[in-house]
Each structure stands twice: as C-alpha cells, then as structure tokens.
Amino acid sequence: MSQNNHPTTPRKSSTFDDYTLSEIRRAAATGIYDIRGGGTKRKVPHFDDLLFLGASMSRYPLEGYREKCSTEVVLGTRFAKKPITLKIPITIAGMSFGSLSGPAKEALGRGATLAGTSTTTGDGGMTEEERGHSETLVYQYLPSRYGMNPRDLRRADAIEIVIGQGAKPGGGGMLLGQKISDRVAEMRTLPKGIDQRSACRHPDWTGPDDLEIKILELREITGWEKPIYIKIGGARPYYDTALAVKAGADVVVLDGMQGGTAATQEVFIEHVGMPTLACIRPAVQALQDLGMHRKVQLIVSGGIRNGADVAKALALGADAVSIGTAALVALGDNDPKWEAEYQALGTTAGSYDDWHEGRDPAGITTQDPELMKRVDPALAGRRLANYLKVMTLEAQTIARACGKSHVHNLEPEDLVALTIEASAMAGVPLAGTSWIPGKTGF
C-alpha cells in the first residue's frame, strides 16, 4: 500500500517554529543579530493574572463619582527641597529625542501636562519642544551624556540617573545611522549618518559607592532642589532597590522586561531581565526592610496598559507607574489606518517594531521630515491626555470598589492570583485558597 494513500498532516516543530526558522535564515543572510524596538513579545505572567477582591459584606465600597478617591502622588520627599506633586500616579517614561520625532516629544509633553503628570527626556538631551510643553519634566542622566549640560539640569524638575532599563538590563543603547539627522547629530556631538552606540556603564562612576558621590555632585550643582530618581532594569530588584536607597535616591524607577527600548538586540529583549510582575514585591520588600517604603517612592514600568494594571502595581506597593509603549500607541503608533504602509515595510499594524530604521508610517519613531508631519502635537497630546484620564478613572473605580479613599491604600491583600506563576511572583494567594507558592506550605 502506498504511503500517499494515508498522508499525515505536515507537522511543524514547536522548537523550530516559523519565527525561529525565519530568524535563522535572516542571521545566515545578513551576519548581524536582529535589532528592534519595544519590549518582550513573549507571553509572561502579568497583571492580567491578578484579580481584585471588591468590597461586599466584610468591606464597604465607596460611592463612585461622589465619595472622593485621591490619586495625587508626591515624589522626592526624602532629600529634595522641591519634591514633585503629580495629579495622577501615571508618568511618561523616558524616550529620547532621536528615537522619537520632535512633534512626538512635544505631544508627550502636552498630553502629560494636560493630565497633570510628568514626562521624561531620553538618551538625546532635552529639546525646547519638550521643555516648553512639559509642566513637569524629568531629565535623564545616561551613560552617553548626549547633550548633557548644566543649564538643562537646572531647568529640569527632577533628575533620573539611568542605570538600566527592563528591555536590556546590562546593555547600552543603539541608534542606527538612518536616524542620525543633522539635528540629532548636533545634539549628540556625532557625525551625521553613523551608527550611534551608547555605553552600558556610566563613564565616570561604577557601583553604588561611587554613585553616592555622583549624586552628591548633581545635588550640589542643582542646589539640592531636584528629586534624584534612579532607574534600574528588572533583574535583581531586591538588591538593586536597596543599593539605590543606600546610594541616596529620592525615587526608584523599576522597569520590567515588558518595558520598551528604542532599539536593541532581540536576544537581549527576549532573554534578559524579569517580568514586571516578578519585580515589584522584591523591590517593595527592600524598601520595607530599610524602613523606606513610601519615603523613597517606587515607580514601576514595563507593560502598563490600563487602569487595572495601574491599580495592581500600586496594590503591590508601587507609588506610581510609568508608561512608554502605551503612550506611543495613544499618540498613534502602530495605528491600523497606516496598514498599507506597514504592509509595504513587511509588517502589519500592531507588529511594527523596527523603530530604529526611522521609517515609522505613524511619524513617531522617525526623523524623516515628511513622516513626522503626520503627528499633530496638539491632537496627539490630547489623545494621550484622554488615555491617561481613562486609566486614572479605571484605577479609581477599582480602588473605590475596594473601599479606598486613596489609590495608595490598595494593598497586596486586596488581590488574588489566577495562576500559580502569578501567585508566586506577586506574592498573593491563588484565588480561592490561602496558598502563595514559595511563601506558605501546601
């Protein structure tokens, strides 16, 4: 009997799936690792795996829209003479001018200001668009120090010393030549059109003992006014948070592996660092062990998408969250209205991540003068403000349902987990049980 009479269905390998095969072929053809933007695309335990326990009999909910549920957050109360007060516990993460267009940066500033929160510079210095349109602007202090200068340091509202980011803890930055326009080149003191490699360590200090001295210098330069944030990638959150506190931080920014980057190696994005969910409790534990929880504020970022994520991060102990990818989407990134152009780039709306190539149809991650015209800063800023307000309302809705008059009164005990993984990582019990894997016995 011929085999052809009983054909088996072609079976694809789970190990060598279509994406893996295409990646092997791509590497063989080009000789360079894949570079892309964004955060991890693999499925990792996340806030979706947690649920709130709303009030019913044992707890009393607050009346929506009538009984107050505050969202204000004050950052930098430890040492800074001028702490920052934000109306909402959601900030805009650092994204560079260079990776983003001028209009996109302006839109972030406008949106954040309308919503009563801060935005953040990035690895490319401070632009007038951004400073002018941001009521509260955090100035990043990065290993490259592109555009770093004392004037901008003094007109910032806070200084964020970037040690690492969730997409690539331990890695440096990358901006390919296509995006080094005249203006970007001038701001970064680089020749136009070359690949720009950013260092992975700061040029003039290594380790928390030296960092403490660096913080002293920055405080002396700025008269001890500005809150000093330290941003770390989610890798060893307990130790890194403790050391940030010991080095003298006012605020710790903790970025999990879903946090985006403008561009780095795909292998870095997908294989280094921990999910945001797994980072929060160890960081909060470090703050509690040092008696610094709520005294040194914790901002969590990496995959925050909606008010539920905000509420869950706060319940686990964060003081605020930060958004990057979601803010870009609110501005118009990966919008299906550009589908034909995404197709022409060999991708599809929702999947476009070659931000480093500078051909973004949405005009956000580009320095192309024609493409960037597609971002109307006022309109895009309004969209971002709307989105931030929705997230805040959602977080308030949940907090009220749990009987809280301030979102900061959410607690881990208000949560349960749907999966064993999330239960272990978030340190909250599996729904319907009192079991927290790794903490309590069977």
Partner: protein, 229 residues
C-alpha cells in the same frame, strides 16, 4: 577675596557662594578654597567667569560641569575632574585620577602631572592637555575635542573613537579598536601649537607628537568587523 576653609565650612556653603557669584550684584571674582583634603564635588556647577584657587588635593568631580570659571587645584584631583565641563579652564597642578574630563563639552583641562585611566572618556568637545602620562582606555568613545599628552599613553588608547583628535608625544602601549595613527598635517600642527600655548607649555614642539584618530570602520556595522565589537 573670599577665602573658604573646608575644614570649617560645609561644602554646600562653598558651592552656593560660587553659584551666587553668577547672580547680578555679586562682584566677587576671586575665591580661595583651603583644606579640601580630598573632598568631593568641590566647585561644581560654577557658571560665572570667576577664578578659584583650591589649595590642596580634591576628591571626585572637582569642577564638574564648569562654565566659564578658571579653577586651579594646587594638588591632585580624584576621579572625574572637570567632568562634562562646558567652558572655562581647570588646571590640576598634581595628578588626576580616572575619568579626567569625562564627557566634557568645552573649555580646557590641563593636568600638569599624570592622568590615570579613561582620561577624556566620551569627550564631546573639551580640550585636555596632560603634561605627564595617561592610563588605559583613555579617550574611549571620544566624540570630539582634542586630547594632548606630552608623556606616554596606556593600553587601548582611543577605543571606539569618533571624531576626537588625540596627540601623543611619547609611547602608546596599545591602540584600541578603530584607533589609528594619522598624518600630522599643517592644520594639526597649528591646532596643537595653539593648545600647547593655551596650556602654558613652551618647552615642547608640535612636531614631536603623533596624531591618532578614528579609522571610521565601525561607523556603520559591517559583519567583517565583528571582532572589534
């Protein structure tokens, strides 16, 4: 002339007094700092054309982010002296530790003794003149500006260099990735002559130096250069 003794005056008062000098109505243009004893962040963020004489050795980041001021340290300097300097002059009479002039964007840093490792790391327009030797990894990722060394350079000079110019009079232990010796053309001799004069050095000639710069092979990724990464 205000004299600030760090044995009795907190660092904050010193730096505030120096910052106040930039405000209208302040006429002090000369300051003297006594007993630094290795203190960090001495005379940082000064933004006025004042003269500051530091009598003794300083710790980390002396003269950090300096704009316009002329700072002289009569002693040695710790790590990161004149880091991210914008303009003005910082002179170290003794030696400088690692990261001297790191990320500096302008002005002149003169080190009359030796500088340790990573001198001029990530420099972005500053001019640095070292009378003695410099340590390893100096001018790493240096972007622009000029580094002049009268003595010898350590290992991996100018690794991953961009457009900064390096002039070394003595021996170079080894060159870093993408750093090569280059021809000294008339414009370089002229530039060097000016830098030496500005640093007050009259006993050496520009012709005694070798120029080093970027081979520019790492400017755009090529798989055949992967070993250099």
């Amino acid at each position: 002339m205000p004299v600030i003794d760090l044995a009795t005056t907190p660092l904050r008062e010193l730096n505030q007094a120096l910052h106040d000098a930039a405000a209208p109505g302040h006429n002090d243009t000369e300051f003297e700092v006594l007993n630094p004893k290795g203190a960090h962040a001495v005379a940082v963020g000064v933004a006025a054309p004042v003269s500051i004489e530091v009598k003794g050795s300083v710790g980390y980041y002396c003269g950090g982010m300096n704009e316009q001021a002329s700072i002289t340290v009569h002693g040695s300097a710790g790590p990161g002296v004149a880091e991210n300097m914008m303009s003005g002059t910082v002179v170290i009479k003794g030696d400088a530790s690692q990261y001297a002039g790191a990320t500096g964007r302008g002005g002149l840093l003169v080190i009359e003794g030796n500088a340790a490792s990573r001198c001029g790391i990530s420099m972005k327009g500053i001019n640095i003149v070292v009378r003695g030797n410099i340590g390893h990894m100096s001018a790493f990722m240096a972007q622009s500006g000029n580094l002049v060394v009268l003595g010898d350079a350590g290992d991996a000079l100018g690794d991953s260099l961009y457009e900064a110019r390096l002039f070394v009079r003595g021996a170079v232990k080894s060159l870093g990735a993408d750093c090569i010796a280059k021809e000294m053309r008339p414009e370089h001799l002229e530039l060097l002559e000016g830098l030496l004069a500005e640093a007050g050095i009259t006993d050496v000639k520009p012709q005694e130096f070798t120029r080093y710069g970027s081979a520019r092979t790492l400017y755009n990724f090529n798989i055949d250069n992967a070993d250099a990464y």
